[in-house]
Symmetry: C2
Subunit: 351 residues, 2 copies
Amino acid sequence: MQKIEIHTKSRPSAVYCGEGAFLAAQQFLGENEVFVVTDENVWDIYGEDVEYLFPKAHVCILPAGEKHKNKSSLFRILDEMLAAGLHRSSYVVALGGGVVGDMAGLAAAMYMRGTHLIQIPTTLLAQVDSSVGGKTAIDYKNVKNVLGAFYQPERVYCDPKFLQTLPPREIRCGLGEIIKTGVLDGALGEKILQNADKLTDLDFLRSLVTDCVRFKARVVERDETESSGLRKCLNLGHTTGHALELRYGRRSHGEYVLIGMWLESYIAEGEGVATAEHSAWVRSLVSLAEKKIPAFPNVRECVSNALLDKKNDRAGVVSVVLSKAKGEFEEYALSSEKYAEYLSRLEEGRR
Amino acid sequence: MQKIEIHTKSRPSAVYCGEGAFLAAQQFLGENEVFVVTDENVWDIYGEDVEYLFPKAHVCILPAGEKHKNKSSLFRILDEMLAAGLHRSSYVVALGGGVVGDMAGLAAAMYMRGTHLIQIPTTLLAQVDSSVGGKTAIDYKNVKNVLGAFYQPERVYCDPKFLQTLPPREIRCGLGEIIKTGVLDGALGEKILQNADKLTDLDFLRSLVTDCVRFKARVVERDETESSGLRKCLNLGHTTGHALELRYGRRSHGEYVLIGMWLESYIAEGEGVATAEHSAWVRSLVSLAEKKIPAFPNVRECVSNALLDKKNDRAGVVSVVLSKAKGEFEEYALSSEKYAEYLSRLEEGRR
């Protein structure tokens, strides 16, 4: 098990990656008051483990899926926290994927202005990305993650045992954020390309989890609240990804991020931000996980979703984070008309 | 106009006290996108000023009163922020008393994980206490301030012009927190006692605002999120004050804090935390603003409210912040039975 420390202004955080992390969480929590937030899918598989490891814990089981990442689920968690009589010194434990982690994190941030928070991510996506770094949120009025908080978990425990029970689609979803990190990091991108045949191998994925957490930890330490701009690099592919996700919403977050990176590599190339060669390198990484880019009918309608994105500060202008070269990114603003033109590349899909 | 800087871990904050502060806010905000949150009472008196100073601002006018400091008002603010298309770079301006400041502050903290926040407190209570230090919250399920965030305003503008239009009851409410600060500070307590005849004099109150902000700034700098314990001193009188406020709810927050300090001075004396002489000094300060302690029928029922207080960490135990000596405090835990005995002093009231 490896420990990766994250030193932010608000509070120190530590991520433990490797076999035995789940048990380590139990040892750390000891006799503290524990409130587990999870979802029905996770509970089906790991409910007995939770009851064995945390016999006195309160458990809040939410319906599974991104569509439940909303106000009503958030207040269900808060209501159950109140009913359980939690205090500031209690521990909220988010056991699940990104949806559970985002909502439990926001509930922990809000309840009495902040309880302790532990993340135990059970999906590849949550292990490599969403459980680390303190972003918490719910979707609201058809805007993704629009209500939330930056709230660092005290500890994150990434146990590879959870990856064994994931369906292939969940693995592909996590690969979206892994490949994003590979594009941002460069060296990691090369490692992924050279081991393209191992992308479903759990041992290899486990090593990628640690690589991604290390990369994200360095970014979050330098820009916890996305104020200096550095943290925006993590939004690579996300402007388009989120817009598609809101408009179509049938695929996973990671898949939309992959498709977003694919499209935005053409923006980088077309706007002269990146060379054609580099953008092709980005697409070669994307294609490892998303072999076929699907067709999106009436894709120009997504412009209105893109305009609502948090990254946009100016009216009528869409802001995208572009990969400029290995390890380099640029935040780039383009008019909504021009963005719509690029988007239309997705009308037909691509093999 | 005086500037008091507050250097916290999360972000720097500055409080401007004195004539012209309202205008200074307008100059600072300049051409930025502004979203004003206020209430009907404030709007009746200052609506024209706001329209003149901020002609392009979005304005959200809430019903006035603590009973509206709830989930529904919070989401009304958030809905209007979304409808106005605010971004992270927009400024939320809380123009009002503690209720407006607490809710607008929480909305600013949550919207896109944090927009800019400016507090322009219009009541004495908000100027001396609630607008400074970054505590934001709503009441929920009959628990005061149970959902919230620590979120520092970028700037606070305390303009004495607003004090001129306050009803006497609002002045007394503010005196509650001023006297609390006097008990905590000692030197300020003596200043108040020596100028007891000036407690309705606006010039004197103005100087007290600056004194209280300076004191609170020093506390918040050293313990922003109430984690080391120092900030808990600001909860003097508040365990009992909040419990009474929830149970009876007809007086102002400041009055309940005064009554709470009165009662808790007996706890400090009875438990041997403070001398009888010091507790009498505390009560002499309280009596400057709350000459008669009213009777509270069935006051023992408030124990259940006190047990829900954020300051309590252990089951069946009530935690109170006691004044030990001038400038010294102690967090003290007593059983709910014992606390109920002390509470019964409030059955009869006291002249």
